[in-house]
């Protein structure tokens, strides 16, 4: 936060007040969102009469953590310089940061002639994210909550069945291509594809017991090999880190 040298003390005081309010309430609302989002699944697991052992939950969580643990930490780190502290609490609660919130913030800043990184720019992005959140919630409520529930009731069971069975490959094919294109790292891509293919087509058929941890093995193997074989150009020529585009 660098103030312009001519900024009067009143500006600093007002912005300090803004920082205090948004950090305090940003934290409080994010913790509330976190708890509410966990309440649903916890209710199903413990009060849904489904007889699920806690160990099964821990194993499932561990498998997810082994795959996405790195991203959980790296993503907030890469977005902080772009978003600033106040918008962090909004962005990581609403999601779809790269494809929705960042463009919204950028367009708002352009439209009122505020530069990114300035205090005016910071306030503009917070307001723009509020506007984007309003549209996001409204469209989810109408198109998914109402229209989607109706759609589910009229879709023929055969089509429902096909959707259920094949939605995973239907999502992953596109997501893999998207990840490869947006990361722009040919070397890492080749290593990742080779490691994943080796794990799925060689290791798993030989040792089926590893099915549970196969993704974790692929992630760890890719990270280690990509690091070992990284291009060692001088820092000035190296490509700047691309923000991770999962959220």
């Amino acid at each position: 936060m660098t103030a312009t040298s001519t900024a009067p003390a009143a500006t600093d005081q007002a912005m300090a007040e803004f920082d205090r309010t948004t950090s305090r309430w940003g934290r409080a609302t994010m913790i509330a969102g976190l708890l509410v989002s966990l309440a649903g699944p916890l209710y199903l697991v413990f009060a849904g009469g489904l007889d699920i052992a806690p160990a099964q939950l821990w194993i499932a969580f561990a498998a997810v953590a082994a795959t996405f643990g790195i991203i959980w930490i790296v993503e907030p780190l890469t977005y902080y310089p772009i978003l600033g502290p106040a918008a962090m609490y909004q962005a990581f609660m609403i999601g779809n940061i790269s494809n929705k919130l960042l463009p919204a913030a950028l367009i708002a800043q352009t439209n009122i002639g505020a530069k990114p990184g300035t205090r005016r720019g910071q306030l503009a992005s917070v307001v723009a994210i509020c506007g984007a959140a309003a549209v996001h919630l409204a469209s989810l409520a109408v198109f998914v909550g109402l229209l989607g529930s109706w759609l589910i009731s009229v879709i023929p069971p055969a089509a429902m069945n096909v959707t259920r069975l094949y939605v995973l490959p239907a999502v992953l094919g596109a997501v893999l291509v998207q990840a490869i294109v947006s990361m722009k790292q040919p070397r890492t891509t080749v290593i990742a594809l080779a490691v994943a293919a080796a794990v799925v087509f060689l290791v798993l058929p030989a040792v089926p017991g590893l099915a549970m941890v196969s993704t974790a093995i692929a992630v760890l193997g890719t990270v280690l090999l990509a690091w070992f074989f990284r291009s060692r150009q001088p820092a000035s020529e190296a490509r700047p880190a691309q923000p991770v585009h999962l959220e």
């Binding site: 309010t21 502290p85 506007g131 998914v144 094919g173 294109v181 290593i191 890719t222």
Partner: protein, 244 residues
């Protein structure tokens, strides 16, 4: 490793996925975001005059943010609709309403189901498997918020330890982790059946085409709608290929 669970082996997911309590939680999630937006807007309004930001500027910013979010929001809604059959409306709304994305949530659910020896969508996908998958994607989503809650104050103070992270590592490690994860998850689908292969290939091809056209024609909406179009095309191909 684990045998699919015998009790509550009902595969009627939507019976529990639409439980009233879950709808209540969705309302709570939406409510928290609304409250946060109102508090932040008020804070902006107080601070705005000190940086020469007029009420008109605030209105323009809000409107710009809202209008630019219409396209991406509809694109996300299309993806969410495709996931309804698998997770039910409350889980889809609360996962995508709060931090989450189709890529992460579907992957996490698939991984969680795998730890129970089950596959999403077929007869091994019971109510219990759904509950564990929903739990795993929710707590995984919560980890992003926990990381944000811990890291944001550190970064604000310009914590030296966080800043000292090797930039080369920041460039290589996340890309390697993401591509490695999605490549492995995607390839795991291939040996399941020929239809899985067709579905995966069509989805990948439509996305590649959308991104290529987005770049050559300069149409960024193709990038936004890429995932939705890929999923719809791939499911259409699956419907044809499976002959149902």
């Amino acid at each position: 490793m684990h045998t699919p669970m015998a009790p509550n082996g009902s595969a009627d997911i939507l019976a529990i996925a639409n439980a009233p309590v879950l709808w209540l939680c969705v309302a709570g999630v939406f409510g928290v975001i609304v409250v946060q937006s109102l508090i932040f807007l008020r804070a902006v309004r107080r601070a705005a005059p000190s940086v020469q930001m007029t009420p008109g500027d605030i209105r323009t910013s809000f409107r710009s943010g809202a209008v630019s979010a219409i396209g991406p929001s509809l694109a996300v809604a299309l993806v969410a609709i495709a996931l309804l059959a698998l997770f039910g409306a409350p889980a889809v709304l609360s996962r995508i309403g709060l931090i989450g994305s189709a890529a992460y949530d579907v992957s996490a659910a698939g991984i969680a189901a795998g730890t129970l020896g089950a596959k999403l969508g077929d007869e091994s996908y019971t109510q219990s498997v759904f509950a564990v998958a929903f739990f795993a994607m929710s707590i995984g989503g919560a980890m992003w918020m926990i990381a944000t809650l811990i890291l944001t104050p550190l970064l604000r103070r310009g914590d030296a330890k966080v800043r000292a992270i090797n930039p080369a590592a920041m460039a290589v490690v996340p890309a390697a982790a993401l591509i490695g994860a999605f490549a492995c998850l995607g390839f795991t689908e291939l040996p399941k059946s020929g239809t899985h292969v067709v579905t995966f290939a069509v989805s990948a091809a439509v996305m590649a085409l959308s991104l290529l056209l987005a770049k050559t024609l300069g149409k960024s909406w193709l990038r936004e709608w890429g995932l939705g179009m890929s999923i719809v095309a791939a499911l259409g191909a699956a419907l044809l290929a499976s002959g149902s």
